[in-house]
């Protein structure tokens, strides 16, 4: 059944520049998908700032406590590097990968 749920997941494609100005829109995008399975596509990310990491982690935690699937699709080198720099690489393991 899980495969079926995941196939219906909405894809949220992260912008390439996740800076100060991207945090509020990102929160709004996640907010609009609340309650539905989400697959985060990070394959275009060039730059990940701490504010957007906050939104991403908060969303992950919210989806988890809602019991709704939350997964990570493609990741770019820029995204992975951003996670590393911010001490958050564990997300690559703790968020289910698709």
């Amino acid at each position: 059944m899980q495969a079926a749920t995941e196939s219906q997941a909405e894809t949220l494609k992260l912008r390439s520049v996740l800076d100060l100005t991207a945090a509020a829109p990102l929160k709004a995008e996640f907010g609009a998908l609340r309650g539905r399975p989400v697959r985060v596509d990070a394959s275009d990310v060039d730059r990940l700032g701490a504010l957007c990491l906050q939104v991403l982690m908060s969303a992950h935690s919210t989806w988890t406590s809602d019991g709704v699937p939350f997964s990570l699709g493609g990741t770019s080198p820029g995204f992975e590097e951003g996670l590393d720099t911010l001490g958050a690489s564990f997300l690559l393991f703790s968020i289910p990968r698709e």
Partner: protein, 737 residues
């Protein structure tokens, strides 16, 4: 063409434009057109010339432009009205500025006297004579020259050991950096990812994220700061870490602590709860290990990347590494204990509160005393304990602000190098007692006077090498900078082994400048102290080193402003020693409480030399002057404090009151007449300026045990008033006659 040379040509072209703009602007203003934009344009013209001149190390030009700019800034801020007289001075200054620009461009010289005279005139307009150009503005790249630096006698072997240890141990010192950004950091477009990347470029770094304050999505403010980090960096360069966070100081909480090699870093925080939940059956520890391992890898990568990026700059002449300074650091690293970084405001608030506590405790004690309770009663005994405790808390709180003078002293080797280079002298700087602690506010204000005294010691004190050899001294002169605690004050000495003060010349200059009368009879000590008089400057042409329009009188005034005093001892042929003595703190003061015109006043006890009750035979009256008091064969003017400050219509009879013999910071003494002495006590200083406004003759205020406000006398201001001028020489003549 060399790109810099071509920029220099541009600079001089631009200077011509700015000079034209400056002149036009000043002339427009003279015609009465003083709209802000004209004033701004005039300011910018000078500012711009100064900026470019700084980049090309045109020191004369920078110095003059700086003084000029300071005056224009006053005008721009509306603190100086541009009247005809002032504009005339400015137009003449503009001419000199033009001469300086052309001299810098075409070679040649500028009339030094004219230049100097204008600097003085400009300085007089603002009343600000400290037109010293900031350190670093004339940041010349000096070639390394022969200068050795001794760091006291004792630390030498230990420092060497510290250095070896640092080199011998492959696992370098680790520093733990805890970093908690605030929202303001993000709002100013600073980015933790960038800061952490730069941090990781300093050494292998393990970065741990703390997301425990992160709320669920609907409660999340997208631009608020929830994430915190703890980074363990393999470096011992705390200064480099602070530099990374320099721009965000005030917009984050930052603490840096040292971890011994064999300790696990305290950075290993619990993973955030939500992460632990989602990790499911995965081994959390392994996860964290992998995550932090990953972080370490990027750290290494980040380290390689910046190196590549700045490589083109590496042919820029680098400063010779200062080995002594590094040894010193190594030593400090070995000795330092973990530190935390606290907002100064919080400490100040705490100090303020403790001040209130001290006052409150004193008031309580007074009430208990008044209530007639026996000294042996439980309450009285308890109060005594409370007093001890209060005093201890106060001392401990003050100790938080105490810092070693090292932060000031360690800037001096470079200064010595530069001044030695500029004067062609060989100098060895010996530093002692740099661990001596003093209140932060005092430290901050020590740099300028010490810098000036050291410049002075090298420039005027030490002889040129040839001269030293002639008189049988080593070619290398020694300047000794030391600090120590003495009776509740910090004493800082700057000593040189130069030729000592040339008293004949000093006297001649003082006479020439009209500072003393030609027949004044002065002791050696008094002659030496002439150099502290306003308007005295021994250099015939203001040299670049000690000059800059700042004399020793400015040093003296800045020391006085801190409640300190400065003195000089000089022996011909053997050198001079300047001694600064300063209070350890600016927040409390040991005071003598006196009664004047029905009011209570406090005098800093350090200013009071003795107290006495004048006998009629000791008082001498003189036509047109204040009465004089005979004290050990010298006449000292008697100044009635109540009368002078306007608390009493007329003076009281000297024999009816008590006099306090005080010595002003310029060494001048006076007898302050008050009605009675009420006692001595430590008082907490409350600034009047902050709460009210500056009052002449009054330095600050305090609250006494009975809750009354008492004013703290500014002794210097009181004794330097207009009628206290039976000058030194005159007083002596009277004493002789």
């Amino acid at each position: 063409m060399d790109p810099l040379a071509s920029i220099k040509i541009t600079f001089f072209q631009e200077c011509e434009e700015q000079l034209a703009e400056l002149e036009t602007g000043l002339l427009t203003m003279k015609d009465g057109e003083t709209d802000p934009e004209t004033v701004n344009a005039v300011f910018r013209a000078v500012h711009s010339i100064k900026g470019g001149a700084g980049a090309f190390s045109l020191t004369e030009l920078v110095r003059f432009a700086h003084v000029f700019e300071t005056v224009l800034d006053e005008m721009r801020a509306g603190r100086l009205a541009p009247d005809g007289r002032i504009l005339d001075v400015m137009l003449r200054a503009a001419d000199v500025l033009a001469d300086l620009v052309r001299a810098a461009r075409d070679g040649g010289t500028v009339d030094e006297d004219r230049c100097q005279a204008l600097i003085a005139e400009l300085g007089a307009l603002t009343g600000v004579q400290e037109a010293a150009v900031d350190d670093g503005f004339l940041d010349l790249d000096f070639a390394p020259i022969t200068v050795s630096v001794d760091v006291g006698e004792e630390p030498e072997p230990a420092a060497a050991a510290g250095l070896e240890m640092a080199e011998g141990a492959p696992a370098a010192e680790k520093l733990v950096v805890a970093f908690r950004p605030r929202a303001a950091l993000y709002a100013k477009a600073n980015e933790p990812a960038v800061l952490l990347r730069e941090l990781a470029s300093l050494g292998r770094a393990e970065i741990t994220l703390d997301a425990s304050s992160l709320p669920q999505l609907d409660e999340l403010e997208p631009e608020a700061a929830y994430l915190h980090w703890v980074a363990t960096v393999e470096t011992d360069d705390e200064a480099a870490i602070r530099e990374v966070f320099d721009f965000v100081e005030g917009d984050c909480e930052l603490s840096i602590a040292r971890v011994p090699d064999d300790c696990e870093p305290v950075a290993a925080r619990q993973p955030p709860v939500d992460e632990a939940e989602t990790a499911g059956e995965l081994d959390i520890k392994a996860l964290i290990a992998r995550a932090t391992g990953g972080a370490t890898q990027t750290a290494a990568a980040a380290q390689a990347a910046p190196a590549a990026q700045v490589i083109s700059l590496r042919d820029h002449p680098a400063r010779a590494p200062d080995m002594s300074a590094r040894k010193e650091d190594g030593h400090a690293v070995a000795a330092a204990s973990p530190t935390i970084r606290v907002d100064l405001e919080r400490v100040d608030r705490l100090i303020d509160l403790v001040g209130e506590l001290v006052i409150n405790q004193a008031m309580l004690a007074q009430r208990v005393l008044e209530s007639g309770l026996a000294r042996s009663s439980g309450i009285a005994v308890g109060l005594d304990d409370l007093e001890l405790l209060t005093r201890e808390i106060q001392d401990s709180v003050m100790a938080i602000r105490a810092q070693p003078v090292k932060s000031v002293f360690q800037r001096m080797p470079r200064l010595v190098r530069e001044v030695a280079h500029a004067t062609g002298k060989q100098v060895r700087l010996v530093v002692e007692g740099e661990g001596t602690e003093v209140d932060k506010t005092v430290i901050e204000r020590l740099t300028d006077p010490i810098t000036h005294m050291i410049r002075n010691a090298i420039d005027h004190g030490l002889e040129p090498p040839e001269r030293r050899i002639e008189v049988g001294k080593p070619a290398e002169g020694v300047v000794r900078l030391s600090a120590l605690h003495r009776s509740g004050r910090i004493v800082i000495e700057v000593a040189d082994d130069g030729g000592g003060i040339n008293r004949t010349r000093v006297r001649q200059i003082a006479v020439d400048k009209g500072l003393i009368s030609p027949d004044a009879n002065l002791s050696d000590e008094e002659t030496d102290n002439l150099i502290f008089m306003p308007g005295f400057s021994t250099a015939e042409t203001i040299s670049d080193i000690s000059g800059r329009g700042v004399g020793m009188d400015v040093v003296r005034r800045s020391i006085q402003a801190l409640g300190g005093r400065i003195s000089i001892a000089s022996r011909p042929g053997q050198g001079s020693t300047f001694t600064l003595s300063l209070p350890l703190t600016l927040a409390v003061l040991d005071g003598m409480v006196v009664s004047v015109g029905g009011q209570t006043f406090v005098l800093p006890i350090t200013t009071v030399m003795e107290t006495l009750q004048p006998k009629p035979t000791e008082v001498r009256r003189l036509e047109g002057s204040v009465p004089l008091l005979l004290v050990r064969d010298r006449y000292v003017p008697i100044l009635d404090v109540g009368h002078r400050l306007g608390y009493r219509a007329g003076p009281i009879e000297p024999t009816e009151g008590v006099v306090l013999l005080v010595e002003g910071e310029d060494g001048r003494s006076a007898a302050l007449l008050v009605e009675s002495i009420l006692g001595q006590r430590q008082v907490v200083i409350k600034s009047l300026e902050a709460n009210y406004q500056r009052v002449p003759g009054i330095a600050a205020a305090t609250i006494l045990g009975d809750g009354r406000v008492a004013l703290i006398l500014d002794v210097d201001a009181v004794i330097s008033g207009p009628t206290s001028e039976p000058a030194l020489a005159e007083t002596r003549l009277l004493a002789a006659g």
